[in-house]
């Protein structure tokens, strides 16, 4: 912005600006500095260090010995079948879980919005799954599908159907992971969507009734367009959450059985901390970071639109 004032000394605007900066703003900067240092130490440094590691071969057992290998870590990914299936599982899990969460959340929101007796209680109660710690939720689910005394198996046995530890059954473990994600997050969608719906004045629906719109048309033309913003925010956020999720998968199946539920976060963890291949893990994490950045850009754009 600084344009030089040629009539006086050419530097004087800069000097004035500098003096003003020093006198007015140094205190402000001093106040912000600790936070900046903290953020730098806990976010910027590890991120940059992770990016750096992606181009080295380095073992967790001897982290000081780093060998620069260029892009060979990335090349290794291309021929790593487990990596490819982990990436596919992650994308599939994210797509299926987020879609189901949104649809069920929307349905729950519509139900909770109604003025029926007990709706207030259900509104509070439905949040339980969301506030439950991840480990507690996983333990509940593991208990449910225990071979002998798990309620799910007791019911199946009564019906004369097969019983087993379902988290250990290929083809069932992955859907169970999806179910856990859905079970956990649907209430959050419902509450957010319900809040958006409640902000639509009742008179708009009355006007729509007089305009000849039935319940479905009112939903399509009045409700849906006005909750689209909150919907997009919720979807983008949960794409990020689900894509990143580690604890649900790791605690329930650990990526098994036979890699059936392996996702990016669990595979990266295993490579880095179980196989000690810190460099390879970091390079996969970088790929994940780039994918996540794309969604973050969408999110920031959406936020800025408001």
């Amino acid at each position: 912005m600084a344009t030089q004032d040629i009539s006086s000394s050419p530097l004087s605007p800069y000097v004035a600006e500098f003096k003003r900066f020093v006198s007015d703003t140094w205190l402000g900067y001093a106040m912000v500095l600790p936070a900046v240092i903290m953020l730098g130490a806990i976010i910027v440094y590890p991120t940059l260090r992770g990016i750096q590691l992606a181009f080295f071969e380095v073992s967790l057992l001897n982290p000081d010995q780093m060998t620069f290998v260029g892009l060979s870590n990335f090349g290794q990914m291309l021929s790593d079948a487990t990596f490819k299936s982990a990436l596919w599982h992650t994308v599939l899990l994210t797509a299926v879980a987020v879609s189901l969460q949104y649809l069920l959340g929307l349905g729950l929101a519509l139900a909770l919005k109604e003025k029926v007796p007990g709706a207030g209680f259900f509104r509070s109660a439905s949040m339980i799954t969301w506030v439950l710690p991840g480990i507690v939720m996983v333990i509940i689910f593991r208990f449910l599908v225990q071979p002998d005394f798990g309620p799910a198996n007791i019911v199946l046995a009564k019906l004369g159907l097969e019983t087993t530890y379902w988290f250990g059954r290929p083809g069932v473990a992955f859907p169970l992971i999806v179910v856990m994600h859905v079970w956990r997050n649907v209430p959050f969608y419902a509450i957010a969507l319900m809040a958006a719906m409640k902000s639509i004045p009742e008179t708009q629906y009355e006007a729509a009734r007089l305009d000849g719109a039935g319940p479905l048309q009112a939903f399509r033309y009045i409700t849906l367009p006005q909750i689209s913003y909150v919907s997009m925010i919720m979807i983008v956020l949960h794409v990020i959450f689900t894509f990143n999720n580690f604890d649900i998968v790791y605690l329930s199946t650990g990526g098994g059985p036979l890699g059936n539920t392996e996702v990016m976060s669990t595979y990266i963890y295993k490579q880095a901390f179980e196989q000690y291949a810190l460099g390879y893990g970091a390079s996969m994490a970088l790929v994940m970071l780039i994918i996540m950045m794309a969604f973050t850009v969408v999110y920031v754009r959406l936020e800025a639109r408001d």
Binding site: P201, T203, Q204, E206, A207, A208, R209, L210, D211, G212, A213, Q217, Y221, I222, P225, Q226
Partner: protein, 393 residues
Amino acid sequence: MGKLDVQHLKKVFHDNSGDIVAVDDFDVEIEDGEFIVLVGPSGCGKSTTLRCIAGLETPTSGELVLDGEAVTDNKPKARNMAMVFQNYALYPHMTAEENMSFGLKMTTDLPKDEIRKRVHEAAEMMGIDDLLGKKPGDLSGGQQQRVALGRAIVREPEVFLMDEPLSNLDAKLRTTMRTELQKIQQKFDVTTIYVTHDQTEAMTMSDRIAVLNDGELQQIGTPLECYHQPENQFVAGFIGSPSMNFFDVELDTSGETPTLVHDAFSYELDDDVYADIENSGQQFTLGIRPEDIKAVPAGTHNALSPEVEVTEPLGDVTYVYLQIGGKQYTATLEGDIVIEPGRQLTVQFPQDRIHLFDGKTGETLRNREPPESSDIDALVGLDNVGSVEVGAE
């Protein structure tokens, strides 16, 4: 055609604390093209009545007959009515054009071009054709109001329903829109039911006023009928601004002439006035409109000399607030009369201008003499817009 017959409409809301009768036995026949205003204080049931007519509420009992056909059980869309809401209820995510075409899109099979044509015609008539591409958020209150009206007009309904459509506008715009609404209504000649709590709107816009209180219809009649011949004390007090002065009085027939006795004055009655209240007990309410109070020389018959509390000169008229028996009353005097607060003013209630109500039921026992043309001129003063020549007495 839009002849609407509302028969014994009743609406009861059920609440934890019991039943609330919002509308009780509302019965009125509305002619085709008539502009009828439902007026009353907050909670009097006027909006509920309108919503029952629109089909947004189901009446507890009663019938709605539109052009000879019962529509009580019809859905809102099958009633051929359009409503303008107090907050306009425009769809915020749609442009003005989409807002206006929504009803046609939902209820008709018209091709897009035809809908577009109709919307543009209506918009042109409302003077909003340059706003069609804008969303409600980008429009001012007055523009939103026009779009809301346009949305109602474009559907060519039999009946317009308006729920306090002007109350969100500022005072100046409200006056402009008031006349504009009347023009539109006359142009389309559509039966209109208009709800307001503003008695000025009621007086100036309507063919007939229906005054409601506590869910009950108090009176239905032309504005001037309601003003000059109120059927009870409520209507007398509600219609007119500033409102009618009421004095609780007791009839004393012990003396030579029958006299109404108030704490602060006594008022001797003429024979014809007395004849109207003779058999109605002892307790009455004497009513007189502020503009009917006359300033007279001290010592005049039936006069009283209260203290002036405040004067409000408006230019054309002056409101004088008088202290009578510990209460404040209003007199409207000519504009150039300025009286200092604290002085005594001698005033008289002309016998041909007083109203008398039953002290217990509030029913009218006697109304003022029917007005002459000079009185009708004076009436316009209640609008407070000035510019009216008051007939010289």
